[in-house]
Each structure stands twice: as structure tokens, then as C-alpha cells.
């Protein structure tokens, strides 16, 4: 078991910056997810950890040992590739045994019996005990996925790296395999880095989630924190749903009052501790649909007035879309509520559920003292090189 630490990691491909200023600490036995849309740099980061790429700048540590320039085969990581990368010219058993046969512990190698025992253990761990003699093309997608997992686990890696392992499976199998991965992780508690673009997968599986966009880690935190206190507009938008309203700060005390179009104003809270807001600063007000209610719950609730444009029934709730000025906002309401399209609607949002976010994404976070990005060297190279 090791902890993974990266220091100001940067990787470019020609002109394109794949990932930059990555400073994360993944603790021992933790399951951390890299989450983001395609092209955000999450697979690049994973492959940097695995050693298939060499960073342009920055360092990677496993515990206190720097491994930045160590070739992949000396890192003792177990990787599960997106398309499984099972060798078609070997049987299931040989695929899993491959890494064990190469493994050396103090210049000693495993005996044939030891290899067999461990392979069989690994196969039964993924519930594939009796399929060792099969060839790869005789396996279904889910079975291949299990074999790839067994192959990665059998060498007892310090770090388990999973690159969208479930993306090729159908919905039902995906949930099944997700449970399997959680079970195996709990059993073996290996430090695990898991790459996915599926937020449900990420939120349900991880101890902590790193949300990435355009090569930057936007936020690295527990799923609860990511959802409740998004640090950037991107995170608020990418995780769950959100209505955004442009506004200008009118006053700051315990709460922040923001003027929004139509001369309305809302009072809310910042999600970023220590961000130096100023009056007259342009900000975005973000409200999650489920935080809008038909009834006033506290005396200081924000009241928002709009016109209903569309109602979608989704079983346990109704999604109500309504127009506030030029903005189309969304609310998630009780299915029994009697609202019709075209109605004027009054909705109430508690002050501590209204999120006030600065513009500027990760660059804004540099203004926060103690934030990893603020501690990183000058950002000029990041933007001017592009």
C-alpha cells in the first residue's frame, strides 16, 4: 500500500496541453476517481502514473520515492485498460499468470505451484475460477473485464489503475461489476485510481473524486463535498444539475447578496472558503433544482418568480422548467403539485442552498490562500504556451 503524490505535473502533446498543474495526494488504500468529459486529461494523468508517458514537468511520488522517470515495468502498478488488452494468443490462465511469472521478490521468483495457486485465487476472487483454460475470444465482455481485473490484481500491485473499466459493458453488467470492484477494493484495500466520465459511477464508487476539465483538476474532494460545495462553475454544472444566473455582488456580510436581472436579488453563500469576493464583482448564482420549493420554509428564503414553460413527469418527481427574465431555470418538484404550463410560479430557495461562484474557473481558485493552485508556480507558462 502506498500513497500517490504528484507535484505540479504537466504533460503536453505538441501544442496541446493535456494536463497541467496537477497537485494531488491520494492516500493509502483510498479509491480516488478522475472524473471529467472526454478530452479533459484524465486518461493522460492515469498513464503518467502508470509510466507510459513521461511528464514535461513535475514529479510523481509513491510514498516518499520519486518514480517520475521509472519505466512502467518497475512501478508495480496493476492497470486495467479500457478495452481490457487481453492477449489474444494466450489462454485466460496464461494471461493472468504472465505478471506473476515475471515478478521477482529479492531476486526470487514464484514456483510453478505458487503461480498456479495465486492465479486460481485471483480467478475465484473475480468469480471466474473454472474458466482458466478458455481462450480470450471465448469470453463475453463482462468476463473479459473480470479477467483483466484479475490480471491486474494477481501481482499484488501497490497501486491499482482502472481506465474506464466499465464503459464497454451494458447497464446491468456495469452495476454488477461496479459492486464487484467496490467489494474487491474493500477486501484488498489497494490504493486505486479510477478513471471515468460517468458521474454516477464516480460518486457511488469513490472515497474522493477529482473533477477534471481542460487539463486542470477543478476540485478533489469527497463525493458529498463535490456535490454540495462545488468550487468552480464547471463542477457545479458537470455534477448533477444546476441553474445558473448571472449577477453582480451588492453586499457581503455573513451572506452574500447578489443582484440578478429583473431587479431581483438573491442571498446566498459561497462554496469556496477564503475566496476574496468584492462588491460589484460579477458572479454566477447556482441553484440546484431540488433546492427550489413551492413553500417558504424559512423567513429569509429567496423568492424567485417565473413563468412555467414546460413540465416533464419523471415518476418520483416533476421537472419544471420556467423562465426568469431571459434565463431558463429548472426545479424538481413534488409530482402531486398542480402546476400547468404557462402559469406564473413562485419558488423559494433557502439561503444556504444558493451557491455564489466566482467567474474564471480554476484561475479564480489561485486567489484562495492555501489552495494548491495558489501555491503552484506562476501560471503564465500554462496559458501563454498554448
Amino acid at each position: 500500500m502506498v500513497e500517490i503524490r504528484t507535484e505540479n505535473l504537466r504533460k503536453t502533446f505538441g501544442e496541446i496541453v493535456a494536463t497541467d498543474e496537477v497537485n494531488i495526494l491520494i492516500e493509502e488504500g483510498e479509491l480516488a476517481t478522475l472524473l471529467g468529459p472526454s478530452g479533459c486529461g484524465k486518461t493522460t494523468l492515469l498513464r503518467l502514473i502508470a509510466g507510459f508517458y513521461e511528464p514535461d514537468r513535475g514529479k510523481i511520488f509513491f510514498d516518499d520515492k520519486e518514480i517520475t522517470n521509472l519505466p512502467p515495468h518497475k512501478r508495480n502498478t496493476g492497470m486495467c485498460f479500457q478495452n481490457y488488452a487481453l492477449w489474444p494468443h494466450m489462454s485466460v490462465f496464461d494471461n493472468v499468470a504472465y505478471g506473476l511469472k515475471l515478478k521477482r521478490i529479492n531476486n526470487m521468483k514464484y514456483t510453478k505451484i505458487a503461480v498456479e495457486r495465486r492465479v486460481n485465487e485471483a480467478l475465484s476472487l473475480v468469480h471466474m475460477g473454472d474458466l482458466g483454460h478458455r481462450h480470450i475470444h471465448q469470453l463475453s465482455g463482462g468476463q473479459q473485464q473480470r479477467i483483466a481485473l484479475a490480471r491486474a490484481l494477481v501481482i499484488e500491485p501497490d497501486v491499482l489503475l482502472l481506465d474506464e473499466p466499465l464503459s464497454n459493458l451494458d447497464a446491468k453488467l456495469r452495476i454488477e461489476m461496479r459492486e464487484e470492484i467496490i467489494r474487491i477494493h474493500n477486501e484488498m484495500s489497494i490504493t486505486t485510481v479510477y478513471v471515468t466520465h460517468d458521474q454516477h459511477e464516480a460518486l457511488s464508487i469513490s472515497d474522493r473524486v477529482a473533477v477534471m476539465d481542460e487539463g486542470y483538476i477543478q476540485q478533489f474532494d469527497t463525493p458529498q463535498e463535490i456535490y454540495a460545495n462545488p468550487q468552480t462553475i464547471f463542477v457545479a454544472d458537470f455534477i448533477g444539475q444546476c441553474t445558473f444566473i448571472d449577477g453582480v455582488i451588492k453586499s457581503i456580510d455573513d451572506q452574500i447578496t447578489v443582484g440578478i436581472p429583473n431587479n431581483q436579488s438573491v442571498v446566498g453563500q459561497t462554496t469556496i472558503d477564503g475566496y476574496p469576493f468584492e462588491t460589484n464583482e460579477e458572479v454566477k448564482v447556482a441553484i440546484r433544482p431540488e433546492d427550489l420549493h413551492l413553500k417558504r420554509e424559512g423567513p429569509k428564503d429567496n423568492e424567485i418568480v417565473g413563468k412555467v414553460t414546460r413540465i416533464i413527469y419523471i415518476g418520483n418527481a416533476v421537472e419544471v422548467y420556467f423562465q426568469v427574465g431571459e434565463i431558463l431555470a429548472q426545479a424538481l418538484l413534488d409530482p402531486d403539485s398542480e402546476i400547468k404550463e404557462g402559469d406564473d410560479i413562485h419558488l423559494f430557495a433557502p439561503m444556504d442552498e444558493v451557491m455564489i461562484l466566482p467567474l474564471g474557473g480554476v484561475d479564480a481558485l489561485r486567489k484562495v490562500p492555501d489552495h494548491p493552485l495558489a501555491l503552484a508556480p506562476a501560471p503564465s507558462s500554462a496559458s501563454s504556451d498554448v
Binding site: G51, H73, K74, L86, W87, G99, L102, I155
Partner: protein, 695 residues
């Protein structure tokens, strides 16, 4: 029930009424239209970018001198940084074994490919004393056998030596002799190559389309037969065809005397005969490339087009053909190069003067007859030939780069779109296929018939008796018997070298990220286009009478020339194998703790082993049947000369064991060797058979 089927069949027929004619026309039209046009646009694009580069030149220079000190420093530091990162990248990517192999490849190619070519160029541009001169080239343009427009000093006018007299009719014999126009070697070689390429494209695309898209009785047999033409190198085929096309040859006896289809006997000679031979032996290059292009088109692309309303000829012209075009064009250009550098057929047909007026033959004449290079005609013509071949090669490189869209499929089901055709359509198909196939296989049929013929009365269509006695020629001359062993030895040595160096060269090109990688790729692929005869000339100018090439002992150089010239087949096959093997399979192995060498041995090699094997078999086949360097190098050391050399010698000899029959026997031997190996390779490669052509 049967009626239903018939109705359905009729529907299919009606759906594709243009099946046969459309196919020919479209491929013909698009070759005429598409090929030259895109070539021209490519050149104009290149030219434009070059011009604009030069155009920007002055401003760059001005900018530099505005602040020369800083700019120099900047430039120097940039250059240093580039060298440093390049060296670092190389160190990271290459380990000891790969580096050694890389150095070996570069050394061999420099020594036995680049330096000989450079020395030919040097010879072509220098006088005997070593001074620079253009006289060798100016002399070329004073020789009516090479250039038809010659300035006459006496009259002050340009004499034109264009000979449009392409044939003659002889009334007493009721025979037409056709030998083709004679415009001098340069124009002759070009127009031969153009006609051959056009014919090869039409035939090749036609067969490829039928084979790829339709299912019919006897398809497997025809597919196998279609592989054969590629084996009969024009040299062997020409020997048989020459006998067949004589005044009292098989063709005239069959079509004129027996069947009375032809109004008079037809005799092909000189250039006309060369075109005939080359067209029917080189079309299979286009066929193989077009076939694998058609097969690798994602069926859903065509289904989508059909779904949008395109059917029949429209579908073929708008989707199928454009998708297959890169493959077809690559095959066509390769045909052009091989036709222009072909030495075998002009040698066989040299009894007519037009055949002697071709570029390859001019070089052969100049070098082989003098065993030296006193007159620099050979090198000068060689440079002309080299320029044509290089232009063609650059065009191929452009199109092979395009071929990457062959494998653009993501998931989904691959439902091959082969149609079962009706009995009626099949009959129609056979009416077309069988005569064309017969023509295409004449080289093979004729060589075999001549080799096996016993006594053969001139008036009879077929030989009176069949015999194996002709093969006694193998024992008649000790050198011939030895040449079989020698040929096999050369082939094996060359193939072993090729495999050892070729697999890792392909690996470096496909997987490593080192500076100069594309130059390496160019270097190991270029031999496919470089005329062997020019390379052999270079061996004479560079190595003759040195330890590498002692007088009378060409063995070592023959092996090296095979190695260098047949290298691309293995490299391309291995490269194709690597390209179809996902990199993650290797990464997974490294992740499991295997080093790079271990990964190459345990994962990469087993996965691409089949491709390397197939490629090496091809390299072997093409080595043993190599003509141009063999003839030139063999001529100075009879006891070490390979089989192809002796085939041509035996053909020229007079006496019991000389002439066409004996040469045909040697040809049959060569063909059998090739057939066995090619059939094997074809089995191994399956649909990837385009690798046979090496591109």
C-alpha cells in the same frame, strides 16, 4: 418456390444492369480523371508551399539581421535544445539491442543502396578525369535511340525520329505483325508504362470488385488462379508468350487456323509484345491492392449510402470506389514503376529493334557488354530511369498515407456484403471472366506447355507428345545445376538477414518515437521503387575490383542486393501486423513488470509472427526470381550466377540445350518454387493479401 427464386434473381439482375460495363467504365474513367488530377494538384500544392517558403525568405533574413546577436544566440540555443531533447528521446526509446539493429540497417542500406546510387549519379555527371560535365546527358539527347528530337548541326534544324510505323501486313502469309511505335527510349518507356498501367487498372479493379462483392460457383478456384500472374515475373512469362505469339504459335493456330475467329494471323513483336506481357503479369498487383481495399471497406458505409438511396453504379462510383481508391492508386503507381524498370521482357523480345529502345535495356546494354563503365551512357540513362521511379514512389507514399482510413470502424457488426448471384448472371460472368482469365494466364500456360512439349509438328495445335525429357537441361550444364543451389542459398541468406533486421526496423517505425523515424521508413521502403538495374550499375561503378566485389565473384553482392531490394516486403508485412495489434497489449505487459525486450519477445513477436513469416516468404520468393541485378552481376561470374541469369543465357544459346524449350524448363522450375510459397503465404495472410505487393 423455384419461380420465386427466379423472380428474385431477375430482380437482382435488374438492380445491377450495369454490373459489368459500369465497372470497367468507372474504373477507367476515374483513373483517367482522378489519378492525373490529384497528382497534379499534389504537385501544385507542394510547389506553392515551396514558393511561399522562399517568398518568406527575405523577410526572415531581414528579421535576422535586425538583431543578429540575439537571434544567433536564440537560434543556437533552440538548435541545442532540439538536439538534446532528440538525443534524450532516442536514449529513452531505444535499448542496446534495438540500437545495434538500427545501426546495422542504416549501415547496410547506406553501403548497398545509397552509395551505389550516389556513385551512379557521380559517374553520370563526371568525365573520365573526374571533372564535372553534363556531356553524358547532352549525348543522350543526340542519340535517336533515346530521344527523338535531335538538333542537326549541318542543317540547323531539328530532325524528328518519331517512327509511327507500328505494324505491317504481309499478304502472302495473310499475317499482321504489330510492334508498336518507336519514339526513342525515353518516350517508349513512358508510353509503355502508361498503357500497361491503364490495362492493369482496368483488369485489376474489375476482378477485385467481382471477387469482393459477389459469391458464385468456382470463386475459390478463380481467386487462386488470380494470384498466379504475380508469380510469373514478366521475364519467365515473356519466354512462353514469345513462342505462343509467333506466326505459327499456339494463338494463331487456335484463333486463326483452327477456330477462324481472326481474319488473319497476328504476330506481336517488340514493344507491342512487351505491353502484352507486362499488362497480363502486372495487373495482379492492382488486383491484390484493390481487393483488400474493397474487403476492408466497412460494410456499414455502403449500407448507409444505400439507405440514402444510392444503388448500383451510383453507389459504386460515389462510395465504394473512392474508399478503395488509395489502394487502387498505390497498385497502379507500383505497376507503372515496375513496368518502366522491367528488364526481362525487353531482353526476351530484343530481336525486334523497338524493344531495344527502352530505358532498362539501354542500361543493360551499356553495362553488360562492357563490364565496365567507360562510356557513361549507362549511368546517365540510369539517372533518367531513377528520376521516373522516384517520382512514382513519392506518389505512392502520398497515397499510402491516405490508406489509413481503411480501418476506421468502431464496433458494430461486420456483415460482409457479398451477393450470391443467379445462374443466369453467373453464366454471363463466366462468359467474360474465362476469356480474360485465359489471356491473363497465357504466360503461365505457355511456359508450362513449351517445357513439357515433346515433338511438335508446326501444323498441330497441341504438341504431339508430352515429355519430361526437356528438364534434362538441368543436368546438361554443371553451372545450371549449381545455379539452383546457389539461388536457394542466396535467397535463404538474404531472407534471414531481412527477418533479423526487418522485424525490428518495422517495430522502430511503428512504435518508437525517435527523431528521423520517417527518414528510416522512407529508406527501407524505397527499394521497392528503385530500379534494380541502376543499383547494379552502381555496384559496378563503386565496388568493381574491390574485396567486396572481386573480379569473377559477385556472390556476396548478389546476396546483399537481394537483402536490400526485397527488404520492403518483410518490413511492410511486419508493419501492417504491428498496426493491427493494439499498443495496449504491449503496455499491459510492461505494466505487469515485463521490460521492453521481454515484451517484444513474449507479446509483440507472437502477435505479429504470422505477418513477419508471410513477409519473409515473399522476400524469399522475390529474391529467387529477381532479374535485373542477377543478370548484370551474374554476367561477370558464371559459376556464381543465379537461376534467372542462366534462364536468359539458355534462351540465347544454340544447340540441343539452348533456346526457348530449355529456358521454359528453368522458368517452370522457378514458377513452381514461387507457387508453393505464394500459396502458403496467401493462406497465412488471408484478406491482408495486399501485403504481397509490399505497400
Amino acid at each position: 418456390m423455384t419461380e420465386d427464386i427466379e423472380v428474385q434473381d431477375a430482380d437482382i439482375l435488374e438492380e445491377d444492369p450495369e454490373l459489368v460495363p459500369a465497372d470497367r467504365r468507372s474504373s477507367f474513367v476515374s483513373t483517367l480523371k482522378g489519378g492525373p488530377f490529384s497528382l497534379a494538384s499534389w504537385f501544385s500544392r507542394r510547389a506553392r508551399s515551396t514558393i511561399s517558403w522562399f517568398g518568406r525568405g527575405p523577410s526572415r533574413v531581414r528579421g535576422f539581421f535586425r538583431d543578429p546577436k540575439t537571434n544567433t544566440r536564440n537560434w543556437a540555443s533552440r538548435a541545442r535544445a532540439r538536439v538534446v531533447t532528440g538525443a534524450r528521446r532516442t536514449r529513452r526509446e531505444l535499448d542496446t539491442i534495438t540500437s545495434v539493429q538500427l545501426i546495422a540497417v542504416v549501415a547496410i542500406f547506406t553501403l548497398f543502396l545509397i552509395l551505389p546510387l550516389v556513385s551512379v549519379a557521380v559517374y553520370a555527371f563526371t568525365t573520365v578525369d573526374g571533372a564535372f560535365t553534363l556531356n553524358n546527358f547532352i549525348n543522350l539527347f543526340k542519340d535517336p535511340g533515346i530521344w527523338p528530337f535531335i538538333y542537326n548541326d549541318v542543317t540547323g534544324q531539328i530532325d524528328v525520329y518519331l517512327n509511327f510505323n507500328a505494324g505491317a501486313y504481309s499478304a502472302p502469309l495473310n499475317a499482321i505483325a504489330i510492334w508498336g511505335w518507336d519514339f526513342g527510349a525515353i518516350f517508349n518507356s513512358i508510353y509503355i508504362a502508361v498503357i500497361v498501367t491503364a490495362a492493369a487498372v482496368v483488369l485489376g479493379v474489375f476482378f477485385a470488385f467481382i471477387m469482393a462483392k459477389y459469391d458464385f460457383f468456382g470463386k475459390r478456384v478463380i481467386r487462386t488462379l488470380l494470384i498466379f500472374p504475380i508469380l510469373a515475373i514478366p521475364f519467365v512469362g515473356a519466354i512462353g508468350i514469345k513462342e505462343f505469339l509467333k506466326l505459327d504459335g499456339f494463338i494463331n493456330k487456335l484463333f486463326y487456323e483452327t477456330l477462324h475467329i481472326l481474319p488473319s494471323a497476328i504476330v506481336l513483336q517488340g514493344i507491342a509484345a512487351m505491353i502484352f506481357v507486362q499488362s497480363f503479369s502486372l495487373f495482379s498487383l492492382v488486383y491484390l491492392n484493390a481487393y483488400s481495399s474493397f474487403m476492408s471497406i466497412d460494410p456499414s458505409l455502403e449500407e448507409q449510402a444505400e439507405n440514402l438511396g444510392a444503388t448500383g453504379f451510383k453507389l459504386f462510383r460515389s462510395v465504394t470506389l473512392p474508399l478503395a481508391m488509395p489502394g487502387i492508386q498505390a497498385g497502379a503507381i507500383l505497376t507503372f514503376i515496375l513496368s518502366i524498370e522491367d528488364l526481362g521482357s525487353p531482353i526476351v523480345f530484343q530481336d525486334h529493334p523497338t524493344a531495344r529502345n527502352t530505358l532498362a535495356f539501354k542500361i543493360y546494354q551499356a553495362v553488360a557488354t562492357q563490364t565496365g563503365v567507360e562510356g557513361s551512357v549507362g549511368p546517365a540513362v540510369g539517372i533518367v530511369l531513377l528520376v521516373f521511379a522516384m517520382i512514382g514512389f513519392m506518389a505512392i507514399r502520398k497515397y499510402t498515407a491516405l490508406r489509413s482510413y481503411d480501418a476506421g470502424t468502431k464496433g458494430g457488426q461486420w456483415n460482409p456484403r457479398t451477393k450470391r448471384i443467379s445462374k443466369k448472371a453467373q453464366l454471363l460472368l463466366f462468359c467474360v471472366l474465362i476469356p480474360v482469365l485465359f489471356l491473363a494466364l497465357i504466360p503461365q500456360i505457355s511456359v508450362i506447355m513449351i517445357a513439357l512439349a515433346g515433338s511438335w509438328q508446326p501444323q498441330n495445335l497441341l504438341p504431339d507428345t508430352w515429355t519430361l525429357g526437356n528438364f534434362e537441361v538441368l543436368w546438361a550444364f554443371p553451372d545450371v545445376a549449381r545455379s539452383i543451389n546457389v539461388t536457394l542459398l542466396y535467397g535463404i541468406v538474404a531472407t534471414v538477414l531481412i527477418v533479423i533486421l526487418g522485424a525490428s526496423a518495422a517495430y522502430i517505425i511503428a512504435r518508437k518515437n525517435i527523431p528521423g523515424k520517417s527518414a528510416l521508413d522512407l529508406l527501407v521502403t524505397a527499394p521497392i521503387a528503385l530500379p534494380g538495374i541502376v543499383i547494379a550499375t552502381g555496384y559496378f561503378t563503386l565496388f568493381y575490383n574491390t574485396p567486396i566485389f572481386p573480379i569473377g565473384h559477385p556472390a556476396f553482392l548478389i546476396m546483399m542486393s537481394y537483402t536490400v531490394r526485397k527488404f520492403p516486403f518483410t518490413v511492410r508485412a511486419a508493419y501492417a501486423g504491428l498496426m493491427s495489434t493494439p499498443v495496449v497489449l504491449e503496455e499491459a505487459s510492461q505494466n505487469m513488470g515485463a521490460s521492453k525486450n521481454k515484451t517484444f519477445l513474449k507479446i509483440t513477436l507472437p502477435l505479429i509472427g504470422v505477418s513477419v513469416l508471410a513477409g519473409s516468404l515473399l522476400s524469399f520468393v522475390y529474391s529467387v526470381s529477381e532479374v535485373s541485378t542477377s543478370l548484370l552481376l551474374g554476367s561477370v561470374g558464371h559459376s556464381e550466377a543465379p537461376l534467372t541469369y542462366w534462364t536468359s543465357r539458355v534462351l540465347d544459346m544454340i544447340g540441343q540445350w539452348g533456346g526457348a524449350t530449355s529456358a521454359a524448363c528453368l522458368g517452370v522450375l522457378l514458377m513452381c518454387m514461387q507457387w508453393i510459397i505464394i500459396t502458403l503465404t496467401n493462406k497465412i495472410l488471408g484478406a491482408r493479401s495486399a501485403a504481397i505487393t509490399g505497400i
